[in-house]
């Protein structure tokens, strides 16, 4: 097994690194660009043999808490999510610094600069700072592999979770990774310090002081980290701070070595002494980081300092979007390489719902019904069916976050809106729709909830959906009037029947749930070819 070379995505490298470091369980809800971490572990023969837990969780909060429970029992755990998943698990995440850990715990936050497949560009490093949880930011696939073991050991040594901040470009890029040694899993054991696991105010006040002290010691750890480096140059005109994959874009522009002083950052909290030295030894500073200007803002502070600092905030680099080697070249002042102009006849090709997708039938029927009402509003949600906003459907008025369709429809109905229709997918419903539905049930809100059930988590590539086969029972169990839990197959031949059903329930002055169902065309194809 030793020194085996493998071609792996950044996500897969991290997954394998954790497995080789004795991981006992991964917990996650699918989310681009983090999904492949869990999928890799699910399909890894060694992980199956060992019985490493890898079943999908209902959402990021349940995943985070399950991982923390495993860590409480002394075993090594990892929880993975896309950046906005951090918002969902924030309660558990922030408090996991207060409880601390027993077995090593990695929290993977996969950020999506440029919003390739996301609704915002939030930078998870702010969460790390906010919660006083150390963060690692790998610059490449090999580093992602190695950092997994480092993170788990570090987590056990400092008794805190460790955030692994990834970005799309690393998650979804392959490179050759050299596999290292394997380590056995931990055995069951319990925390030595028990009080901090019960976050009652008296315990928390004591623990909070410890957490703040720990944070100071983590700064020292960052000074010594093998992943933070001071690379002295020969030209002191500018000192460059490059974090994570930004370091690669810098090096891309200097194939024969960078002449400037560089600090490579891959471990947080920031190594303040290392940065002070860079400032002392350079005339001005340039900060290159993928995501939001987290480091740059810290270096600048509020009051003007002695050094000129450039980065995303002064326009040296674009304020938004992921970095590119070209943007970094421009920030360093290198001449732009000669290249052709963009070809003007090329037009955008936006994604669309697949032909044969049941969401299409839902939007066709819904549009035809709502044409008969004045000012109908449709509250959408996160998933493939978000594409219902695009033409030819133009069927959705809002898309905000996982589960917001039902609750926003309820709030709109509270304001007097009718019709107020929520369209939500099956997986999003069990992720964050169920609790909102209970609010609507308790007030018999006059809204129509359409669960467009495709029996999978489609947007992220067809992972198991936690509510499959249970949706009607969940709605009935929560307390929806059985007369208004309706089911229909989303099929073109059912267009008129779907219209009639939608209309009937929209006209009912109370809460109704319509489960409109048809298997995702992509997973159906896979299931059919597997049967052959």
């Amino acid at each position: 097994m030793k020194n085996r070379k493998l071609l792996l995505l950044g996500d897969e490298a991290l997954a394998l690194g954790a497995l080789d470091a004795g991981l006992s369980g991964v917990y996650a809800y699918p989310g681009t660009p983090s999904t492949e971490i869990t999928e890799y572990i699910q399909s890894h023969p060694g992980a199956r043999e060992r019985g490493v837990h890898s079943h999908w969780s209902s959402n990021e909060k349940t995943a985070m808490e399950e991982a923390l429970g495993m860590s409480f029992c002394g075993k090594r755990a990892m929880v993975c999510m896309k950046h906005v998943g951090m918002n969902v698990c924030a309660d558990a995440f922030v408090n996991s610094a207060m409880t601390g850990v027993n077995g090593g715990l990695i929290v993977v936050a996969a950020d999506d600069p440029s919003m390739h497949s996301s609704q915002n560009e939030q930078d998870s490093r702010f969460y790390s700072q906010f919660a006083f949880i150390p963060a690692l930011e790998p610059s490449g696939q090999q580093e992602a592999y190695e950092m997994a073991a480092y993170a788990l050991e570090f987590s056990e040594r400092v008794q805190l979770p460790v955030m692994m901040r990834m970005v799309t470009r690393l998650c979804h890029s392959r490179a050759v990774v050299e596999q290292g040694d394997e380590r056995p899993e931990n055995t069951l054991s319990y925390p030595e310090k028990t009080r901090q696991w019960v976050l009652m105010p008296g315990n928390s006040r004591v623990r909070y002081r410890e957490v703040l002290q720990l944070w100071e010691s983590l700064k020292e750890e960052s000074e010594k980290s093998p992943y933070n480096k001071y690379i002295a140059g020969t030209d002191r005109s500018v000192g460059i701070v490059a974090s994570g994959i930004a370091f690669n874009y810098l090096m891309e522009n200097f194939p024969d070595g960078c002449p400037y002083n560089v600090v490579k950052i891959s471990q947080y909290p920031l190594p303040e002494k290392m940065l002070q030295r860079l400032a002392d030894e350079s005339d001005r500073l340039l900060v290159i980081e993928d995501g939001q200007p987290f480091i740059e803002e810290k270096l600048r502070g509020v009051l003007p300092g002695a050094k000129k600092i450039s980065g995303r905030l002064d326009g040296a680099l674009p304020r938004t979007g992921e970095l590119t080697p070209d943007a970094v070249a421009a920030a360093i002042g290198l001449k732009e390489a000669e290249h052709e102009k963009r070809c003007e006849m090329v037009v955008p090709r936006p994604p669309a719902l697949c032909q044969g997708c049941g969401h299409r039938d839902v939007f066709h029927a819904l549009n035809d019904v709502l044409a008969g009402y004045k000012d109908a509003k449709v509250f959408g949600d996160i998933g493939c069916y978000t594409l219902g906003w695009l033409s030819p459907f133009n069927a959705i008025d809002t898309v905000v976050d996982m589960g917001a369709s039902i609750t926003m429809a309820k709030g709109a109905a509270d304001a007097g809106q009718h019709p107020a229709v929520a369209v939500i997918g099956d997986s999003t419903f069990t992720h964050s729709g169920m609790t909102g539905l209970l609010d609507a049930i308790n007030e018999n809100s006059p809204i129509t909830v359409i669960i467009s059930d495709n029996l999978t988590t489609g947007m992220t590539g067809g992972q198991d959906s936690q509510g499959t086969g249970k949706l009607e029972d969940i709605c009935l169990g929560l307390g929806v009037d059985p007369a208004h839990v309706r089911t229909i197959d989303s099929l073109p031949k059912n267009h008129d029947a779907m219209m009639a059903l939608f209309k009937e329930e929209i006209d009912y002055p109370g809460l109704s749930v319509i489960v409109s169902r048809r298997e995702c065309i992509q997973t159906a194809r896979r299931h059919n070819s597997a049967k052959k």
Partner: protein, 197 residues
């Protein structure tokens, strides 16, 4: 040795299989590589691209800088033209199928696309779907494309065929052979076209 390739197409056409095969072959030859791809939204009939960088020395950036790509390899002609600003203006090649994939209302006139391709100095363009249909099924047009760009690569074609075998092995010998035949046809056609110029 250093080859930077932009692979392009429409979601579902199979460009990522090309990337996988090149990856297997590169690993076999002890080359360094980075291959960035886009998942998620783009799979739903949107444009898809992958940056593939092969080199005998370590590769830093996952993304290819402007004006540095050695080739744009595409299964769709408009998608090929989407990335011309990344091509090396002195030496970059376009290798593309000419079969348009029209799933948007404002797709440009095909004559304009053909003219834009024909006016270029270094281009290998033919209908790869038709070529694939000749010998196998239109679904192996991605292997015709891999064959068509293979003469421009510093990788032994037999290594690429090994890669095809590795990727398609679990689908059965018939599928493997069809894909290898498609690869060889693409390679022959490209060599013919380049010597014809």
């Amino acid at each position: 040795m250093k080859t930077d390739i932009i692979l392009a197409g429409v979601g579902g056409q199979g460009i990522l299989s090309i990337a996988s095969i090149l990856g297997v072959a590169a690993l076999e030859q002890n080359l360094y590589l980075k291959q960035a791809e886009v998942h998620g939204m783009s799979q739903r009939g949107g444009d898809v691209q992958s940056n593939l960088r092969l080199s005998s020395s370590p590769v830093h950036s996952d993304l290819i800088p402007l004006g540095k790509a050695d080739m744009v390899v595409s299964l769709e002609p408009m998608e090929a033209l989407r990335y011309v600003e990344y091509l090396n203006p002195q030496s970059g090649w376009i290798v593309t199928s000419t079969a348009p994939f029209v799933n948007i209302p404002n797709y440009p006139e095909q004559a304009a696309i053909d003219a834009a391709l024909a006016s270029r100095e270094r281009v290998v363009a033919f209908d790869m779907e038709a070529a694939a249909r000749e010998i196998a099924s239109p679904r192996s047009s991605n292997m015709v494309l891999l064959g068509a760009c293979s003469p421009l690569l510093d990788i032994d074609p037999s290594k690429l065929e090994d890669g095809i075998r590795a990727i398609f092995a679990r689908k059965g010998e018939k599928i493997v052979e069809a894909n290898i035949a498609a690869f060889r046809l693409g390679r022959e056609k490209a060599i013919e076209m380049r010597s014809g110029k």
